[in-house]
Symmetry: D2
Subunit: 349 residues, 4 copies
């Protein structure tokens, strides 16, 4: 099989570092170029002491230099929202395929982007062309895409938790509540008081209640799965750990639906999915089971007293929630086996 | 003011240790006796290296010895459910007042206890007499009580989060969802694989989904607050930290209720409560703010898109969630100022 | 007893916050003024959500305003090194007593300060007058002082670990090795990449090997204890926890010294010290035993195979390592009982 | 290249789980059998939720069944000390090669084993035949071995830190001090109060001061490196994190030795070693840089004021400190490229 040349724009953050970690083990990929504004000219090992031995000679080019990733077959963009939509057009024009790990190419409607991200979309036609990169639900579209909007971590976990129930009409999309918990790496690598170690360790809090930007992305997925729009209540929480995300979603079960039917629906839906484990018996998702891996563990419980379906999903926010999913998308795009270079085993402990 | 003689039965667990820590600073209390089956004859400092200097000569008597706490004015029971209901009758008969930190005296109906705790109640008449020890809502009853059922940590946090809205009829009790997160000390001090450090650190999981025993206790409180019974969906989660609990509760707002009305209702309800801080502005509860203290931080948000009320409360599960609340109950029982010996300031960081 | 009016300059960092937490419970102190450049005009509760209920109306004055702490009997300075030596002279001139929690008044020789802190000392005469505020060894001098240099956290722990052995001539001061480990709050509250939660959690490293500024301060203490100067090898390490410091010191035992003699020397030396617990039997110091308290746990072991004395001390870097020691100094200065307002019990867990 | 059939005896602990995680990615290995007394008959995924997707059908055979690993080419023993020396002889007799991850085959002298492990060695002739499995120093012997004693985690880190200096005669072996810090997974998976999450988190302590069983193993390595025996002072510490080990070693520099000479000696010694990174410039070892990887980061500093050499090494105690080193030994034994299946990149964060 041939090798693709890959570039990563904005590679000194956690998502960029995770891409680099995963691509070390990808036999069809050559990391040809990485860029970083803050670390231009420095070796990868200076940003990530964990990677110096794996990329002894790779140095960051300045982010603003467009020629840095020229000649790459696939370019990953790990830059702030609003930046990717200015970088993607020339890269696509030059023939590269682009996987954006930010929010710029995730929405079907430019108006939704504008409303939640506070600026008009710079290239609505590309937005219309872009494919939402959640392979478990949009695999065929991704296969043919030039431009992939890699999903947010919370929407990935939420969608994998609730999709089978909504798709099969077992539960109401209306009234869906997504209570989500994330490790701190999801906040990125930029230091700030709220992520200063002593402020976070032995602490626990919700944030952006009723206002997080992943809300419309979750709603877009719910609409596709359920075949009808629905407003979602979404509350993220910050957990004192590095990696890992757990979504606990609450849905009203439709009348007459039995617990066994719910389990069987999930089991069937995810049977052929290499990255998704539907947990049977007493097992519940836990983030340690997927740490460092691209897997997602999913379980469901029916609260028969309240007729609620509680759907849970655990993933590693940097892997299936970001870089791993991006590599999975690259595999789909390039026709590689979908699990190539992606660890299925988690790090325990 | 006079001093009361206090005994603690089962004092070598985390709740017992926290009672001892708090009572060091209580000017009206003398700790006259502590008991422990596993550490009978050992000094307090052997169980708690943190307390050896404060109780240099206090040793544990064997738990089974009833005379160990004879002569105490107030006895705290920190023993497993099912044990307290055998210990309380003779203590009460001997004239002591009893504060049970377990579940044996929390329920109004013996049948509820039996259904959730798997055994019939041994003294239903005492259950009928016992008072539920949540001073913010049952202060007058506690004042006159001989026997107090000290609340569970989750029910305390959940009740403080939702009570004002239910009491004022701003939100529906039906459909209430309580998504709760707790530090590991809430699981007690008995070592087990699931609380072994490497299994918990960098991990996050839900447990006992749709089946935790605090569910009926929360429902009992909801029924009182709302004036009508309602089934509650309750999901606890284990968080990799020692102390702290956060409840995120979701309620449907009644038609016509405005966000400002919700905030004003909470503000008024908790205005005179020394232990409750209703957070204004952008502030949200976080467990670090109450670490080691008996305070509870409460906030509310209205999700106007979904008409959901999101009510949040943070407390220290060992203090307001257990030992601190028990001392608060002792203060009420004995007519001491309610905050005596109870820290209001948290440990930051 | 009379009340003293206290001011804290630079009160929005961790040391300032810890002073505020401790002074809540100090019956002879009124916190009259706090200052902060970054939070001028804001309430204490905005800097420390843990303290809002305890100081509901106290706001930060701008640090640069000298009149902010005018009229205070005692002023604590928690400002960067180099700043305190400009603030102290006018405060002393106005009749206040000053306790500086930085390094500006810790050294006997201005040349040592200049060599390690990179600037000449601005008021060498005040340096000569200042007293080193480690009450266990300099209590009488502190009693009469106007100006106290509150010790560094590492020197406090190191001195308490090795002092009795050196003072009694049981071990050589030459060749002393101090291997020290600290929680992250010791690095202060200013966010930086190296203290960003995901960089620290699940990580462990030494820093400033053979070059940390606490080295000459330790050497100054060793010289007093041993009666002769000695160069010390000092290595600090950063531990993924909020609070707590452990020093493991290695000394060569002098010929003929027996293990029992070492233990007896420590036992006698610390017998009357309310803040120091010399651990007997198998017990070893651990930071949790002193979390939130002003105590120090000390133990010694003799490695008979190598004739090394291993001396260990654990303390809370923010309490006995900073703010608690400062309050202890205030108590000595003002003639209050030395433990006033200082917790002896630690927070377990 | 051919595939070897591998068995793991005692595979339900952390070391066994880590072997399984690493061998997922080893192209020349088939895991043919795993055993566990406590989980006999259960699937691997029940012991390690992280591994269920990778080993969907592999179940534990009972440990005591010798036929469980019959037919394996290489058998890893991850059983308590004292057990491996009864299991190894029949396995070797049956033609398997054996890598013991415990202490039974690490010592050159049976008397040393007996003195530190409290029982006579059951097969001193095998002990004489066994090879100490630290490939960086004993690669040629391992190549020809039937029986490998896989090193302890602390001795691995200590040896890699000090070996080049001792071997080159730059520092004195006498008086060597090894101050070591380890994450909690090093204590194994058996729950006990001292490793219960709330006892460890936010805590820090030394343990087994002047008496840890890794002391003679370190001394054996020092003797080989330096060409002369020396007694070592060794102090291990427990750090509140899952994985990672840091050794800070202190040696007296020999007269006339210059800092540059030390660095150059280390640089040359480790130049060809794929698993060892000698850090240049300001970089110091940190455990996060090697988390999940088989690398070791080494650095040296000369304290010119005290003529001490401070040598530091960081590794992942479960990888290079146990399972990864065992796989490295398997690679050497079997003639595979030495890094096969072994990650060089760490998990950041």
């Amino acid at each position: 099989m041939e090798e693709v040349r890959v570039g990563i724009v904005g590679a000194s953050g956690y998502t960029g570092g995770e891409l680099l970690r995963l691509l070390v083990g990808h036999p069809q990929v050559e990391v040809a170029a990485v860029t970083s504004r803050s670390l231009a000219g420095r070796l990868v090992g200076e940003a990530f002491p964990s990677l110096g031995a794996s990329y002894p000679r790779l140095a960051f080019a300045p982010t603003d230099s467009p020629e840095a990733v020229a000649g790459c077959d696939v370019v990953f963009l790990t830059v702030p929202s609003g930046v990717a939509m200015t970088l993607a057009p020339p890269l696509l024009a030059a023939g590269a395929r682009v996987i954006d790990l930010g929010a710029d190419f995730r929405f079907r409607e430019a108006a939704v982007y504008a409303a939640w991200y506070g600026q008009p979309h710079a290239c609505p036609d590309l937005l219309a062309e872009a494919v939402y990169g959640l392979p478990e639900f949009f695999r065929e579209e991704i296969r043919k895409a030039r431009l992939v909007g890699n999903p947010g971590c919370y929407p990935t976990a939420a969608a994998l938790a609730v999709w089978p129930a909504l798709e099969a009409g077992l539960a109401e999309p209306e009234g869906l509540i997504v209570d989500a918990k994330s490790g701190v790496s999801g906040a990125g690598r930029h230091p700030a008081l709220e992520y200063h170690f002593p402020e976070v360790a032995e602490n626990l809090r919700a944030y952006k209640v009723a206002g997080h930007r992943h809300t419309p992305e979750i709603e877009q997925l719910v609409a596709v799965a359920a075949g009808q729009p629905a407003a979602v209540t979404f509350t993220p929480h910050l957990i004192p750990m590095n990696r890992g995300m757990l979504v606990t979603a609450y849905l009203r079960l439709r009348p007459g639906v039995e617990p066994a039917e719910v389990a069987e629906t999930y089991r069937r839906r995810y049977a052929g999915e290499p990255m998704i484990s539907f947990l049977e018996g007493d097992a519940l998702p836990q983030t340690k089971a997927v740490a460092g891996s691209n897997r997602v563990d999913v379980a469901v419980r029916v609260d028969t007293r309240t007729r609620r379906l509680v759907a849970l999903a655990a993933l590693d926010n940097l892997v299936k929630g970001a870089a791993g999913q991006a590599v999975q998308n690259l595999n789909v795009l390039c026709g590689f086996p979908e699990t190539t270079g992606l660890p299925l085993a988690g790090l325990w402990p």
